[in-house]
Amino acid sequence: MKLILSAGRVIDPANKLNDILDILIEDGKIKKIGKGIKDKDAEVISVKGKVVAPGLIDMHVHLREPGFEYKETIATGVRAAVKGGFTSVACMPNTEPVMDNTAVVELVISKGKKENLANVYPIASVSKYAKGEEISDIGMLIKSGAVALSDDAAPVMNAEVMRRAFEYTKQFKVPIITHCEDKNMTVDGVMNESFISTVLGLRGMASVAESIMVYRNIALANYIGAPVHIAHVSCKESVDIIRWAKKQGINVTAETAPHYFCLTDEAVKNYETNTKMNPPLRTAEDVAALKAGLKDDTIDCIASDHAPHGRTDKELEFNYAAFGIVGLETMLSLTLTELVNKKVLTIDKAIEKLSLSPAKALRLDRGTLTIGAVADITVIETGKEYSIDVSKFESKSKNSPFNGRDVKGEAFMTIVGGNIKMKEGKIL
């Protein structure tokens, strides 16, 4: 099967490409890129006026299966992914049972393959039962298909355990993705510690509880000489520490999520539980620091931390509501609207942070349109204006604080392995 995407603006950061070009896809691979490509056997789709990018990769999602299928399943999660323009997702291990064993890794991979939509890459738990006490069977987990290890949602408090995790994992050349939070400092916390938490009478989680662990994990990884990836950076101090670490040549990558550069803790003011996430929404100063960090490449990646929750988890007292929001179907639009259209990032840079950089962080052979690469492609309609409507989400859960928000720019088509999986909002 051959397919030509004709006359789109092809942007491929890996090859510093930004030009009006045709792409020929053959046997699931990028066969040719150039002007005026002709092939009488190929189906031709005109993508004139649209951006053709490497398939987007969301390196931080929660697919909830096994264990919490009422929130999301792998099937609904990958539908949400391709709808949002994502050809690959990497899913976190806080399932039930925890993804600390090869059985769950294999289950996630096989369910992902069966759906045959977005690629699903499991991230296994760095510790057994996500307890932070003993390291899990890291070698076996990687052999069974895990692309990284993480302590997301259950951060490892014991520095000795974390040191050994970095040390042991080093041999496999995969990163440990760390959720940076000193849990002793955030007991019962439900939002950022700030003037707003004072006024609302909600228990705060100070940004320093994040930044000290960012430093600890970078220091440990540096000492060991192992790669570390900092998940969902939310505050200025963390950005400053990562910037410093990169200047020292330390092997660190980092991500932030759209809600951290789109919203501040002011959004919590009506006790809206869809503004409750961990780390929490911070202040305007933090948002400015995150944008600066994205601009100067201190923050390499944008990831959604897609965290679906059912109505029964969110329609509660603020203190009792679950942390997290869905993001797969809003991330691209929010990034284009808040960062590209407002000139924080060029569209080339935004695409890099949504494709090439996460591929590099996870050591995946994707995120580029290089000839011979797997044809994972996202076509973006940058001029499309619309209001976010959670009722149209493919995700099982609708917990988004962005419902009703006006945005500009949307995924037009998602191609995975040369096959069109989504076109104009329809999943194929």
């Binding site: 003037f195 004072t198 006024v199 609302l200 009478g201 006790y271 329609e315 509660l316 007292e317 009792y320």
Partner: protein
């Protein structure tokens, strides 16, 4: 005076005129207390539900009595939070209550934001009787009423509020009420019990009670929850009471006619010594009595009542 609002969630968004109006209305109701029959027919046929998710005999009794003196039908509905965690959600419980055809729901909950959530979900008027660490507006109002009654004014008074500001809904409502009414308010506590950026609310912060107490017109002592010590917010009860407890010695630093206030229940010998609590300067028991008048005023005004009609009620309620 007519109150143009349906709910009383907090004093944060109230105006000085509204507060003044509520206090004047409470004054009119308080004058009824001296009559033989203390009941008026102002809310006859209306149903007031006391929906308490947190134990509180005092506040619930005060609201109950206030509603009864207005001739409303009163239902007390207590829900223990533990059973909520297991079974029915907050919203379902509240909808069940409203299905009993309530007109006003007085709600107390250990979680901040619950009254606001209910006001968006239900048709009844919602009155916040204390939500988490957020607000306790009728406590703030009854404290203002007591100060105004004793001092004949609030504006320009030097008020010192002492204790666990961080976790106190009483403190927050009083901060809004007192500053809106023009008082000069200083908060005193160890730095661990001062919440972030509280100065932005127009108050001063002082760590030395002796310094702050000088020339004070009102000394407002907050209840300290003893379990805060377990979280290292202060080192020991002994040290707390030595530095932040009101005793005769520190009281002498204030103006001679300074009022001593406390929202109750008191920890005698911790935040307040027995000598001070029982001194002639203490108005702690009057605060409780005034609470009834203020809550009558709030229930009455939120149900659409007007202040100038109160005198016409006479003392013939049933």
């Amino acid at each position: 005076m007519e109150l143009k609002r349906k709910h009383l969630i907090g004093l944060e968004d109230s105006t000085p005129q509204e507060i003044e109006g509520i206090l004047n209305t409470a004054e009119a109701f308080k004058s009824i207390f001296n009559r033989k029959i203390k009941k008026v027919p102002a809310l006859r046929g209306r149903t007031v539900v006391n929906l308490f998710f947190e134990n509180s005999t005092r506040t619930r009794t005060s609201f109950e009595l206030a509603a009864k003196r207005l001739s409303a039908d009163v239902i007390n509905f207590s829900v223990s939070t533990s059973s909520v965690a297991k079974g029915e959600t907050l919203i379902d419980t509240a909808r069940t209550i409203e299905s009993l055809e309530s007109d006003m729901i007085v709600v107390r909950h250990s979680c901040s934001g619950v009254p606001l959530l209910l006001s968006k979900t239900l048709k009844s008027s919602i009155i916040n009787a204390g939500d988490g660490m957020h607000e306790h507006p009728t406590q703030g109002l009854l404290d203002l009423f007591t100060i105004r009654e004793k001092k004949k004014k609030i504006k320009g008074l030097k008020i010192v509020m002492v204790g666990d500001i961080a976790h106190s809904r009483v403190a927050r409502s009083n901060i809004y009420g007192m500053t809106k009414m023009g008082a000069d308010l200083t908060l005193v506590a160890p730095p661990t019990l001062i919440p972030k950026d509280i100065e932005k609310l127009g108050v001063k912060v002082e760590f030395d009670l002796r310094k702050a107490a000088k020339d004070a017109d009102v000394l407002y002592m907050l209840r300290i929850q003893l379990e805060r010590q377990k979280r290292n917010l202060f080192p020991s009860i002994r040290e707390f009471s030595l530095l932040y407890g009101m005793d005769e010695d520190k009281l002498k630093l204030a103006n001679k006619d300074a009022l001593v206030m406390h929202p109750g229940p008191m920890n005698r010998g911790v935040e307040i010594s027995s000598e001070v609590a029982d001194s002639p300067q203490s108005v702690i028991n009057e605060q409780v009595t005034n609470g009834i008048a203020v809550r009558m005023a709030v229930l009455y005004l939120l149900s659409g009542g007007e202040t100038n009609e109160i005198d016409s009620f006479g003392g013939q309620g049933n």
